[in-house]
């Protein structure tokens, strides 16, 4: 083990920690706290620039290009994004199930339901796939925006929108890579309850990324 795991009450754990907590869990929470400031800087900028773009396309309003007479419809696609939001929310459910499955790995399982719930590989797969699906939606969204005439250079909205959601997407990407790494470990040597912490910190990160999306979905997509 890279460091002590206070989580498992294994008496072999020789590193004393003040709070009896694993240092990695303390660090990931501090990291999440820090990420709050990162995303608030991005979100603030998006909101500050909301409604300040000189040229379209705009998120919620139509815009007619005075030079060409071309009409740009409101660019945000609420139905598609609602679907991707739902997928990301469900990924959080899969994630808690993956963690529970790892934590209860050694408990005997009697029913078929218990065996399904206790299948850590299944839930890690589901989480990672949901994350990848979300990224697919985002790729679709980005490319269709570019086709419709909104790029990161078009206007203030384009710059702040792509940067904010792109940063979020990059976080999801990192999360998917993390989950796939855990899966690889699970396939190679099997994740047991002594590895709970490894999944726990990944899960905290994953949920945090989900929570950020909850905020972005409302502030960027739903509020006009």
């Amino acid at each position: 083990m890279p460091a002590s795991v206070a989580h498992t009450s294994a008496p072999t754990s020789h590193h004393y920690t003040t709070l009896g907590l694993d240092s990695r869990k303390v660090a990931i929470w501090a990291f999440i706290g820090s990420e709050c400031m990162l995303f608030v800087s991005l979100i603030s900028t998006y909101l500050i620039y909301k409604g300040r773009s000189i040229v379209g396309p705009f998120p919620h309003e139509t815009w007619t290009d005075p030079a060409t007479g071309h009409v740009f419809k409101p660019i945000l696609n609420i139905p598609v994004t609602s679907a991707s939001t739902f997928v990301l929310l469900m990924s959080s459910l899969f994630m808690v199930l993956a963690l529970a499955a790892v934590q209860n790995k050694e408990k005997p399982k009697h029913t078929r339901g218990e065996r399904v719930l206790g299948n850590s590989k299944l839930w890690l797969w589901m989480t990672a796939s949901a994350g990848a699906t979300f990224l697919g939606f985002q790729a679709f969204e980005f490319t269709s925006f570019v086709h419709e005439g909104l790029s990161i250079r078009t206007n203030l909205f384009g710059s702040s929108f792509f940067t904010l959601t792109g940063f979020h997407g990059a976080h999801v990407t990192a999360g998917v890579i993390w989950l796939v790494t855990l899966l690889a470990i699970d396939y190679r040597r099997g994740l047991g309850s002594k590895d709970s912490l490894l999944v726990d910190i990944a899960a905290l990160y994953w949920h945090f990324v989900d929570v950020i999306w909850i905020v972005i979905f409302t502030l960027v997509y739903l509020i006009k």
Binding site: H14, Y16, V26, R153
Partner: protein
């Protein structure tokens, strides 16, 4: 206990156990050695930034001089500020965080020893990256606060600012990684009984600084990312001309980071002086809880005062009033600390060692900077003072008079713990007095030249505006610094080799780090102590004598004691190298981005999948 038996190290003051040679330094994960690396590197950059300052002062020594061009002058003051803040003072503080935090809280190392090495290497490579350009006269040239839109491609087309943006992003990674590490260490690796309210004040201030870092650095990271995108990918964040961007966006984001940053720079020095003054006054720190709470209050309020750097932009009466008020409020906890230090010394049996002199110097000189700070906390007064040499005087009194004095005090105080030998006191005192004279001669006249209207950042000026004398004085003062530094450096290196052997507690100090040998063995504490008071060495029953006896033994290897130590590893260095290579790619050749990323990811996986330390049973 699967540790293989190693040859017993000769535990002379000159060597850290069996460790020596270049490889051992490149692959070390020992917090003490990383602290020493930080110390040397930061001292180097401190002198580099000092040379830049000397050239600046030489140029300004008399009116209408043309020692350097206006363009090069811009590079000099930009790099002087950037170097001193990010490459000298912060890393000097980090040197002490590294060396002291685990020793003060009774831990064997920091929470993540390899991450700690990573922080250092990123700092070193980032520092080199941002420093090299000035040797080719293509250094950043828009000031340490890099105001956009001035820093956008439209107004700064060269690669100068590219180095600045990317360099600061790199250094931010280092600071953040270190901050998570120290935060976790202080929260989670305190020895039994080392409650929060028993922590030495240095560790407390370090704790607060990590919180500030964790909260402030993401903001500048985003501001810099915007600037990077604007410069490289044509986004519009700071494009005020054709896209309608707000010219104040950068200023706000920068100062939301910038004000907490000034406390990041000074609180570690406050912590050091809070160790120095009690030791040489033979009295516990006065008002310990108040010191803690005022530190916390400074951190909290520190996030609500940023716009006092922007009074001149016309934010309107509500914002001006609000930020003026909060700025005056934050002076209160700062003042409280000063009074506590004075009360600590009051009626103490004071020993005027060099460290103590620097401590007293901090109390006196920082106060002057605090007072001028309160002066420009008032928006109407600030309109007179902003962007003049008065501001330069202010922040040099707080940064030199505060941070640097505190750090020198810390160096003299902890040199024996770090090296096992004492520094020469006579030379130390010469260093101190030269520094005090130089400091005041350089910066005090700036209050006057500023009040007489001399703006910051002009490369020369006409005679007859009443500024000549003050500038001549400032320049004369500045020329004394190199002499002071030479005395210091001479003292440092000679004492390291030939100084008097110090023993574990040469100053009769009271905290945990003085219970173990100097220099400490690699595992720090043979037996993790149980702490029952703030100054275990001072308060008779505060110490477990058996434990202290075990811990003061010299020459024991970890294997003798059954202590599992982390493996040394080169991987963090490679991750850092990959990261910096990746960023270099943006400027030099895009192909480097892929190479750097591959190196980084490969080394990172290899690091994360290899065990920290030998398996134990």
């Amino acid at each position: 206990m699967a540790t293989t038996a190693r040859p017993a190290p000769k535990h002379s003051p000159d060597a850290y156990g069996e460790h020596s040679g270049l490889w051992s330094w490149l692959s070390t994960v020992d917090h003490k050695r990383i602290g020493v690396l930080y110390l040397y590197t930061a001292l180097f950059f401190f002198m580099f930034g000092g040379v830049e300052a000397i050239i600046i002062r030489a140029q300004l020594g008399a009116p209408n001089q043309h020692l350097v061009s206006a363009e090069f002058y811009n590079q000099l003051f930009t790099m002087h500020g950037t170097t001193m803040i990010f490459l000298a003072i912060m890393p000097l503080s980090a040197a002490f965080f590294n060396f002291l935090i685990p020793l003060q809280i009774g831990a064997r190392d920091v929470a993540f020893p390899r991450l700690n090495a990573f922080s250092y290497w990123v700092y070193l490579f980032g520092g080199i990256f941002i420093t090299i350009p000035i040797l080719f006269a293509v250094a950043p040239n828009d000031g340490w606060f890099g105001y956009a839109p001035l820093t956008t491609r439209a107004y700064s087309p060269g690669i100068n600012i590219d180095f600045w943006v990317i360099g600061l992003l790199i250094l931010g990674v280092s600071s953040l990684a270190a901050a998570f590490n120290f935060l976790t260490t202080i929260i989670n690796l305190r020895a039994p009984g080392m409650t929060l309210m028993r922590m030495p004040m240095f560790t407390w201030m370090a704790f607060i600084v990590q919180v500030l870092l964790v909260l402030a650095f993401p903001v500048i990271t985003i501001a810099l990312v915007f600037l990077l995108f604007d410069r490289f990918f044509g986004t519009n964040f700071y494009n005020t001309v054709s896209a309608g961007a707000d010219p104040l966006l950068w200023q706000h984001l920068f100062w939301i980071f910038g004000h907490p940053e000034v406390y990041i720079l000074v609180l570690p020095a406050f912590g050091l002086v809070s160790e120095v003054l009690p030791t040489y006054s033979k009295k516990p720190l006065f008002g310990y809880p108040v010191m803690v709470y005022s530190g916390i209050l400074i951190a909290v309020l520190g996030f609500g005062v940023w716009a006092h750097h922007m009074f001149a932009v016309g934010m309107g009466p509500i914002a001006d009033t609000f930020f003026g008020l909060t700025t005056m409020l934050i002076a209160i906890p700062t003042g409280v600390k000063i009074f506590n230090w004075i009360a600590t010394m009051a009626q103490g049996s004071i020993r005027y060692t060099t460290a103590m002199l620097f401590g007293i110097g901090l109390v006196a000189l920082f106060t002057i900077g605090g007072i001028s700070g309160i002066m420009h906390a008032s928006p109407p007064a600030d309109l007179q003072q902003t962007d003049t040499y008065f501001i330069v005087a202010h922040f040099h009194y707080v940064l030199f008079g505060g941070s640097i004095m505190g750090i020198f005090g810390g160096i003299y105080h902890y040199f024996p713990k770090i090296t096992g030998r004492l520094m020469d006191e006579k030379l130390g005192k010469i260093h101190f007095w030269l520094t005090v004279v130089a400091m005041n001669l350089t910066f005090f006249p700036m209050h006057f030249s500023g009040m007489l209207g001399m703006p910051r950042r002009i490369y020369t000026y006409d005679a007859g505006q009443g500024w000549d004398l003050f500038n001549a004085m400032s320049t004369a003062g500045a020329m004394i610094f190199p002499i002071a530094m030479l005395v210091f450096i001479y003292n440092f290196f000679v004492s390291r080799k030939r100084g008097e052997i110090a023993g574990s507690n040469p100053w009769g100090a009271g905290t945990l780090e003085w219970t173990i040998p100097s220099p400490p063995p690699e595992y720090n504490f043979a037996k993790i102590p149980t702490v029952t008071s703030r100054y275990p060495l001072w308060e008779g029953k505060g110490i477990d004598y058996e434990c202290a006896r075990i811990n003061s033994q010299e020459g024991k290897t970890p294997a003798d004691l059954g202590i599992v130590m982390p493996y040394s590893t080169i991987k963090p260095l490679f991750v850092a190298l990959g990261l910096v290579t990746m960023f270099c790619g943006l400027i030099f050749a895009r192909a480097l981005i892929g190479v750097g990323a591959a190196l980084m990811i490969f080394s990172l996986y290899s690091w994360l999948l290899s065990p920290l330390e030998p398996e134990h049973h």
